[in-house]
Subunit: 163 residues, 3 copies
């Protein structure tokens, strides 16, 4: 692993730790995160500080990965997927001034190895998506999803299990 | 307030009226809009002409704010939020040629002070989201939401009230 | 039609076949696709190889159009719309290495002339959206939609017919 910073017209990468053969496409904004060997990151993706993406993953275009998200190995993240790390987001604190890091609690999310998250899925904060689970496109995930489960809908419900 | 135009590799800002200490991140496309003091605008955001964003707001990445939208002060707009200003969108008019501004009616949307709009929310045109209201992630808002209401789902329904 | 390649700070266009008076806005990533006369393509749009977009279309910001998608003439595609071409997406194949083109099956989607796809709609793979159909904002389309139908919801259901 090495840590790179690249400020070119189509990339803004600041202190991104990358493994071997990582491929980062155009118009990507990433900072303070790590990305494992051979993982591909599509256009218009943002990955925030502290997020961890494993090896052999595909992170598709227009996806947002926030602080507090840990993605395992061999995970597919579809296009336009959004993660969440704050269950009660506010712009301002109780005194009416802009929130600082002391004004909110980070909740963590984990996507286990080999899972697939469909396009346009939204995953609430504090959840775990199990090994080899499949989340259908357009779902809003509000509960933990067990290993090998197929879930879909808003809110996402388990439809069946793989194997 | 001052009006700025900046055409740099990672920003396209044309006639954007900004207050003090406004922070605009990478890959932002904004034109003819206004943004109040201390408001932060994330990556991959588009803000169209005539849209008004208040002060002390947080506009998160991948969000689209269209003409006809007025956002109050201290408002949180999550990632991947989309607004709408045309209830019957068409590419072409009845003669079969591309629509012009005379072929459709702009409907306006207002987000009142201190509201929070969750990640991946879609807000139909012509609506008002009340003071301090909270819209859950992944919701599709089809009706007005009153002050202090918490609403979620597709279509969004009121779950409870804050305070 | 002519084929263009442009690698400028705000555009990455590679082998894009365009008709006359096509307008492509800032921060667009497109390759190996075709775009018909007078069609407009908004900011933060990605269009993949093999995708076909007709003439007199409006492709709004933040939209993703994948390989296997054919869009007719006079079609409105809203903001943040996502298409899908793989019903069982995985990052890795059964041997545990990154998938190649031989490890998955492309499914095709067609949007017929004069249709309108609302903002934040997700359209599953292998579907046809009929002539002049209207898909409501925030819908997840899981079945074919007939000509002139208005459909909405997750999953999208037919509400009524136009004319």
């Amino acid at each position: 692993m090495k840590t790179i910073t690249e400020d070119s017209p189509k990339k803004s990468l600041t202190n991104v730790t990358v493994g071997e053969d990582v491929k980062i496409f155009n118009f990507v904004n990433a900072y303070g995160c790590s990305i494992g060997d051979r993982t591909k990151v599509g256009a218009f993706v943002e990955i925030q500080k502290g997020a961890e993406v494993g090896k052999d993953c595909k992170i598709s275009s227009h996806t947002f990965i926030c602080e507090g998200v840990k993605i395992g190995d061999g995970v597919f993240i579809g296009h336009n997927v959004s993660f969440i790390n704050d269950m009660f987001p506010k712009a301002i604190n109780e005194e009416g001034s802009m929130q600082t890091d002391e004004d909110w609690e980070l909740v963590k999310t984990e996507i286990k190895d080999h899972a697939s998250i469909g396009t346009s899925v939204t995953i609430l904060g504090g959840l775990t998506i199990g090994f080899n689970a499949l989340i259908g496109a357009g779902s809003v995930v509000t509960k933990n999803i067990p290993d090998n489960a197929v879930a879909a809908g808003n809110p996402a419900k388990i439809i069946r299990f793989l194997k």
